[in-house]
């Protein structure tokens, strides 16, 4: 980058200014554009497209927080070290500086407004629902398990606490670590946008997939709709996060993202199992489910 030269006397200052701007841009540009090049800051980069957007905001906020935190902590440390009591003399009794006070009012307002701008931008992306999702899945939470019903597919999977209905015949072997496969499995097509329609049968539960950087309450009498676009096939552990009673800690589930063809095959295999079960008159005991608990009233 070559700075344009001018003949004016202020060119030096101008050049210096531009140089500083260039440095600032060089530092910030990767943050803004290439979130994936950043360290993870202890979080998840995210396995859905929505999670990627969240991660970029998280990383930028984390950096801003470190900068503000380091500056403030340095000022505190400097004060307590430099101004330890050295004599009995009474220090100068100054108690105001209007310019300084205005500065540390206005600068934080600007920082906060910038952060707010990025926040709104990101949350609008995350909360956008596609007009034609590849699949729509009704998720019903209950004490203490999950039911996943595939809209228009006549397939429903239900499981409780630590039981694993093993919906795709993984036998635990494909789960590494095995803890990722606790609870019932929510099978979704990878690379496609999936609509989740979330509600609860009894108390409030939390639909939370750590790798998706996302959670949403499942509430009785209220339906939340949101989209997930899982980018790669895989298994993602998940758990209820909103405290819901005695077995809250064991209310697991997991998301299984399959390539579209395998997803379709899984759906039809589930359908045939269901119809076979219905034909043999075995009632609700569908293979692939673990509805062994006594029926619970949806009182709430």
């Amino acid at each position: 980058m070559t700075a344009p030269t001018t003949g004016s006397t202020g060119s030096g200052a101008l050049r210096r200014h531009r140089g500083r701007l260039a440095v600032a841009v060089a530092v910030l540009l990767p943050v803004v554009l290439g979130g994936c090049q950043l360290p993870t800051f202890f979080g998840y980069r995210g396995s859905t497209s929505q999670a990627h957007d969240e991660f970029r905001l998280y990383a930028a906020t984390f950096i801003a927080a470190i900068v503000v935190g380091v500056i403030t902590a340095t000022l505190i440390l400097w004060s307590i070290i430099r101004y330890r009591r050295r004599s009995d003399a009474i220090p100068r009794q100054f108690q105001q500086h209007l310019g300084l006070e205005l500065a540390y009012t206005i600068i934080p307002v600007v920082i906060v407004l910038v952060l707010f701008g990025f926040t709104v931008y990101t949350e609008n992306i995350i909360d956008t629902v596609a007009p034609h999702p590849a699949a729509e899945i009704n998720v019903k939470a209950f004490q203490w398990g999950w039911q996943f019903s595939y809209v228009g597919q006549k397939v429903s999977v239900e499981g409780e606490t630590l039981n694993d209905p093993d919906p795709i015949g993984l036998n635990g072997a494909a789960c590494a670590p095995t803890d990722d496969c606790l609870g019932p499995g929510l099978v979704v097509p990878a690379g496609r946008t999936v609509r989740i329609i979330l509600t609860s049968r009894d108390t409030i539960h939390g639909f939370y997939v750590p790798a998706f950087n996302f959670s949403r309450y499942a509430q009785p009498g209220w339906t939340n709709r949101f989209d997930l676009t899982v980018q790669h096939a895989g298994i993602y552990r998940a758990q209820c996060t909103q405290f819901c009673g005695l077995y809250h800690s064991e209310m697991f589930f997991h998301v299984v993202a399959l390539p579209m063809s395998q997803y379709q095959a899984w759906l039809s295999s589930q359908r045939s199992l269901t119809t076979a079960a219905a034909r043999s008159g075995s009632g609700v005991s569908k293979p692939g489910t673990a509805t062994t608990s006594p029926p619970r009233e949806a009182t709430a």
């Binding site: 202890f42 105001q96 006070e101 540390y104 803890d179 409030i204 939370y208 950087n213 800690s249 709430a300």
Partner: protein, 578 residues
């Protein structure tokens, strides 16, 4: 502004107050100092009970399956413990310790008043609070155990269907009682501050602690009636089938969350502002400088209080029922006045002569703790980041750093600072420093690992967790930190015991204080003041003891700058009421 005519002359009262002594005095007194001490002792008992419960929680989380080979808690026991830990800390310690204990004792002294405006209402507040506290703890003795639905008691989990039994009812009743107690205390504090100020003590000469308590009291009057109403409705749901929060009868579960957090978020600042006030008292005294940016501090306090009534739904970002940008913006904006406070505290220490007595050490601990808690708070005010971390240990770490920073670091700074005034005795410095350093190390060791496991996805309020995710070592670190915090408080208890058995006289003004309470005797006499110094600034006692310091003045807070007449020694009676 100051109402000279309404002040009661001290000498109308007998010099030697005849009254009951011993236990009867503690039970029947309407003296704000006695009631304040009652509050402090009761709330500290609640603090220690809740702290022991926290150790129980941390014991359970030592291993993924719970506890150690010595035994583990059942899910029900664990759920009761974290519910009661949160409830005791928030409803029965952090609030009452500040506005019932410290404010009750100190605020009338700081405004130069003989007592609170309504002494008998004050006594009623305490007895309601004590009754509520006992009621809540009694839940453990009920057949079904104590309440086990978290300190927020979200409906419908707290409805009779999902949480039957007497424990939850006692919990609701206890919150109702302490709610009324807080409202009465709020009325008292507001009235006392407005009507019982000493001559010359204009609003902009009030000590920052009094300012903080005034604004806190107004927040109490806004927030606590909502909580009490929400609890009455919950009780009606449980027993009269009103279906206010249940879908079955056409009710709306999320209504409970709206009501609760409309109380709950101002409550967070009810638990924070008094402690900001304490820090704003202690830092100037130990830096030997006036508070930097006094008016900015007052307006920042007001701004925090005002904003805090419009941010409740940031606890509900993941419900999908709230307008995200509105609550996000207001929540983020709270960072601005909070930042102003931080820089004012730094400005106060700047170029001072800071002596690190125990109260000042605790204040510095508060600054670091609250800085960390505040920064993660800004992250959580952004809904997308909240989606990723809501109800995980990240949030647990955040609010513990905020509340521990305020209620514990700043709260115990206040206790160490005013203990000489309460009792006329000093606490031992060495034991206090042990207390501080153990607690400071324990604090970081406890909560920093919780941020990490939270970002990894560990949900809060779980009695067991996945063994295969590598969370155990972080949880062990956290539990060790909690134990250190617990041990640090043994030093406080020893300190109190030593000062009881081998008293060291404190004198009236051991710290070279600024505000009127340091002009009273230690402990203050029955009606507090025999005489008052002239009040010409927000530091009347400093002015009185350092008449020459005026020449060092660089600027004032804007009250009569330039027209301040010098305060002569020996003019103490000049403006007093006696």
């Amino acid at each position: 502004m100051t109402l000279l005519a309404e002040r009661q002359a001290v000498h109308e009262h007998p010099e030697h107050h005849e009254g009951p002594t011993g236990l009867l005095k503690w039970m029947t007194s309407t003296d704000h100092k006695v009631i304040g001490m009652n509050y402090i002792v009761t709330s500290l008992v609640m603090f220690f009970l809740a702290g022991i419960m926290a150790l129980g929680i941390r014991y359970q989380l030592l291993s993924p399956t719970g506890g150690t080979s010595l035994g583990k808690l059942s899910n029900q026991q664990f759920n009761e413990l974290f519910t009661m830990h949160g409830s005791l800390m928030l409803y029965l310690f952090a609030g009452p310790f500040a506005f019932g204990g410290l404010a009750n004792f100190i605020l009338p002294l700081q405004v130069g008043a003989p007592d609170m405006a309504f002494p008998r209402l004050n006594a009623l507040s305490y007895w309601l609070y004590l009754g509520g506290s006992i009621t809540m703890v009694l839940g453990f003795l009920s057949a079904g155990g104590a309440a086990a639905f978290g300190w927020v008691g979200y409906a419908p989990l707290s409805e009779a269907t999902f949480s039957p039994g007497a424990g939850p009812d006692l919990w609701i009743l206890a919150i109702g009682m302490t709610g009324f107690s807080a409202i009465f205390t709020g009325v008292n504090l507001v009235t006392t501050t407005f009507y019982l100020r000493a001559p010359g003590l204009t609003m902009f000469r009030l000590p920052l602690f009094t300012w903080a308590m005034l604004i806190t009291a107004i927040l109490i009057l806004i927030a606590f009636p909502i909580l009490t109403a929400a609890m009455v409705m919950l009780f009606a749901d449980r027993h009269f089938g009103t279906h206010i929060y249940t879908v079955a009868g056409g009710g709306v579960p999320v209504l409970y969350q709206n009501l609760f957090w409309f109380f709950g978020h101002p409550e967070v600042y009810i638990l924070a502002l008094p402690y900001f006030g304490i820090v704003s008292e202690i830092i100037p005294v130990f830096s030997r400088k006036p508070l930097f940016g006094y008016k900015g501090m007052v307006f920042a306090t007001m701004a925090i209080a005002a904003l805090s009534t419009g941010v409740w739904a940031h606890h509900m970002f993941t419900t999908g029922t709230v307008l995200l940008p509105f609550f996000s913006l207001l929540s983020l904006l709270i960072a601005v006045p909070t930042g102003i406070k931080f820089f004012n505290w730094i400005g106060t220490m700047w170029r001072g002569q800071i002596s690190f007595h125990v109260p000042m050490l605790f204040c510095v601990g508060f600054l670091f703790a609250f800085l960390m808690g505040g920064l993660t708070g800004i992250m959580l005010a952004s809904p997308p980041i909240d989606f990723a971390t809501h109800d995980t240990y990240f949030v647990v770490a955040h609010f513990h750093q905020v509340l521990f920073g305020t209620a514990v670091f700043a709260g115990f700074a206040g206790l160490y600072y005013w203990y000489p005034k309460f009792t006329g005795r000093m606490l031992r410095e060495a034991l206090g420093k042990w207390h501080f350093w153990l607690m400071f190390i324990g604090f970081w060791l406890t909560f920093m690992p919780q941020y990490y496991v939270g970002l990894e996805g560990m949900p809060r309020r779980v009695a067991t967790y996945d063994p295969g995710l590598g969370w155990q070592s972080w949880n062990i670190a956290s539990s060790v930190g909690a134990l250190l915090i617990g041990v640090s408080f043994v030093f406080l208890l020893v300190n109190l015991w030593v000062s009881w058995r081998q008293p060291v006289k404190a004198g009236d003004n051991p710290w070279d204080g600024n505000t009127l309470e340091w002009f009273a005797t230690s402990p203050p006499s029955h009606h507090n003041f025999e005489r008052l110094p002239p009040v010409r600034s927000e530091r009347p006692v400093w002015d009185f003891h350092h008449p020459d310091a005026l020449s060092l003045q660089h600027g004032t807070n804007g009250n009569g700058n330039g027209t301040r007449r010098p305060v002569g020694v020996g003019t103490a009676s000049d403006d007093t009421t006696s």
